[in-house]
């Protein structure tokens, strides 16, 4: 598989799985207004995943849906941060804020890519992400002094650092300093044991009738 396809899949898988996790809140978020706002973010993430899969699919001679659903869990390239089931608001917002902070750095690098298609898609995604960052910052500011939030950020920091390639981690640590020496990033390449149950639920209808159109 080409470098390009690997990169696209890594990013697409992050957005797909994060979008899937974020969509778990649709209908049960802490306030109705927030439920609507956060659901838009989840939908944007799935939309980004789809656009990234579509680019990769052309290189690989397949379709976006095939890439999103029809691989074995071991073949997904997402970072562990997005796999974790965190159905409590403090952790969800901590992950959201950490991911958006890391992702902003990743996207900025991609916008500078020599690959025109990738750079173009990165620019489009960046424009949609403006709302995500505004939203994440808004919540992080409000929860700054809340112990639940602070603890969640500390706990999730190593996972967030693992979202980024090494060359971008220093910039990340300038914005969100790590909890201290001895806490290294949780690297990509190994999945948490939360990914498989997620994948099973995500693909259960699709797998129920092989080859069907839905």
């Amino acid at each position: 598989m080409s470098e390009r396809a690997l990169l696209l899949l890594e990013y697409a898988d992050d957005e797909l799985i994060l979008g899937w996790r974020d969509s778990e809140w649709t209908g049960i978020a802490p306030s109705l207004e927030e439920d609507v706002a956060f659901s838009s973010i989840a939908q944007n993430e799935i939309g980004h995943a789809r656009a990234l899969y579509e680019l990769a699919a052309r290189d690989l001679g397949t379709t976006a849906d095939d890439l999103a659903f029809d691989r074995d869990p071991a073949e997904y390239r997402c970072a562990q941060l997005v796999e974790l089931r965190k159905l409590d608001w403090a952790h969800t917002i901590a992950r959201h804020w950490l991911y958006e902070t890391a992702d902003e750095l990743r996207l900025a690098a991609l916008k500078d890519s020599d690959d025109e298609e990738v750079a173009g898609l990165a620019a489009k995604m960046d424009r949609e992400e403006v709302y995500h960052r505004l939203h994440a910052r808004m919540w992080a500011d409000r929860l700054r002094d809340e112990p639940r939030f602070q603890e969640a950020v500390v706990g999730l920091w190593p996972y967030a650092a693992g979202v980024l390639p090494e060359e971008l981690r220093e910039s990340f640590m300038d914005i969100v300093p790590g909890p201290g020496p001895g806490t290294g990033p949780v690297e990509r390449g190994v999945h948490s044991d939360e990914l498989r149950p997620l994948w099973e639920e995500m693909t259960m209808v699709r797998r129920s009738i092989a080859g069907a159109t839905w």
Binding site: T26, G27, P30, L32, S39, Q43, R206, A212, W214
Partner: protein, 298 residues
């Protein structure tokens, strides 16, 4: 205009009422109860559908279904705002909902079992609801009539999504067609009960006060007239041997189970307690968010 007789004449001749207008206590009480039940229904209707967001078999379906459920939460927000401006705070509505004190529509007390349910709900259950909602565009209480415009506009997307899911299944494999038929068979009873028992509209307080602009049977007939042909043209079977359209245009059907309806809406549906328990649990778990951040009384 606090004179009830004058007020009644006013609304019955098309008069509109705004939030600050004086209104008879009975009108206000009936309004709050009716609108609150609508809000509760949108909020509870979310729960059977949201499971399938996670299981949606394509990216497009996942997006469309998430957007549909998001709309329903948005509708709950619009509706509870109207209730709150009439004097009942959102937190009280939610408390009454999870304690079982307040009601929500029958269809949201039933389980969803397959992707076939996802299609049938968006195609037929939403259709039944839209018929009632279109009639509410003429509600005498203007703030409610106004939000119904946004609600009806957003529902039009749900109908298209539902139709798309169903047609795709019907054009697919035998197994997929069977998913639709099986779901339709299960949902038909609750669908026929949905618009309520055929109380003549002149005896329906909601109609008398022009909160509703159509009677229950009128709504049901509209549903049958619009959707039975759609069901039959796909080769699906409605599980009611008595269902037929008379020469005068009126649909005849087997008597819906009104006992089942009463039993379900008073909190004894197959999924009522489980769903209320989920809402209760989330409300408790995230109460700190509301009090710390959203400045609500917890």
């Amino acid at each position: 205009m606090t004179n009830a007789a004058e007020f009644l004449e006013y609304v019955q001749s098309g008069g509109q009422v705004e939030t600050g207008d004086s209104m008879p206590d009975e009108y206000r009480a009936k309004l709050v109860k009716f609108i609150e039940m609508h809000g509760n229904s949108e909020l509870m209707g979310v729960l059977p559908e949201r499971e399938w967001i996670l299981r949606a078999p394509t990216l497009q379906r996942k997006l469309a279904l998430t957007a549909k459920v998001q709309d329903e939460v948005g509708h709950a927000q619009l509706i509870y705002r109207v209730v709150e401006d009439l004097g009942k705070p959102r937190s009280q509505c939610l408390a009454d909902l999870v304690s079982g004190k307040a009601k929500f529509h029958n269809v949201f007390h039933y389980p969803t079992r397959t992707w076939g349910d996802v299609g049938v709900i968006a195609w037929l259950v939403d259709a039944a609801a839209i018929i009632s909602q279109k009639a509410l565009l003429k509600c005498s209480y203007a703030p409610y009539a106004r939000i119904m415009k946004k609600i009806c506009w957003e529902e039009s997307f749900h109908i298209l999504h539902g139709r798309d899911v169903i047609l795709t299944l019907m054009n697919g494999t035998d197994e997929q067609r069977e998913l639709v038929q099986e779901a339709l068979t299960r949902w038909w009873g609750p669908l026929m009960q949905f618009h309520g028992n055929p109380i003549p509209r002149e005896k329906d307080p909601m109609y008398i006060w022009r909160i509703k602009s159509q009677g229950n049977e009128e709504a049901r007939q509209q549903f049958l007239d619009g959707y039975v042909p759609q069901i039959w043209e796909l080769g699906l079977t409605v599980p009611d041997p008595k269902l037929r359209k008379r020469d005068d245009g009126v649909w005849e059907y087997g008597e819906p189970d009104w006992d089942e309806l009463r039993h379900v809406v008073t909190g004894h549906g197959p999924k009522t307690q489980e769903r209320l328990e989920l809402r209760r649990r989330m409300l408790e778990q995230e109460a700190w968010v509301r009090s710390v951040v959203l400045a609500e009384a917890a």
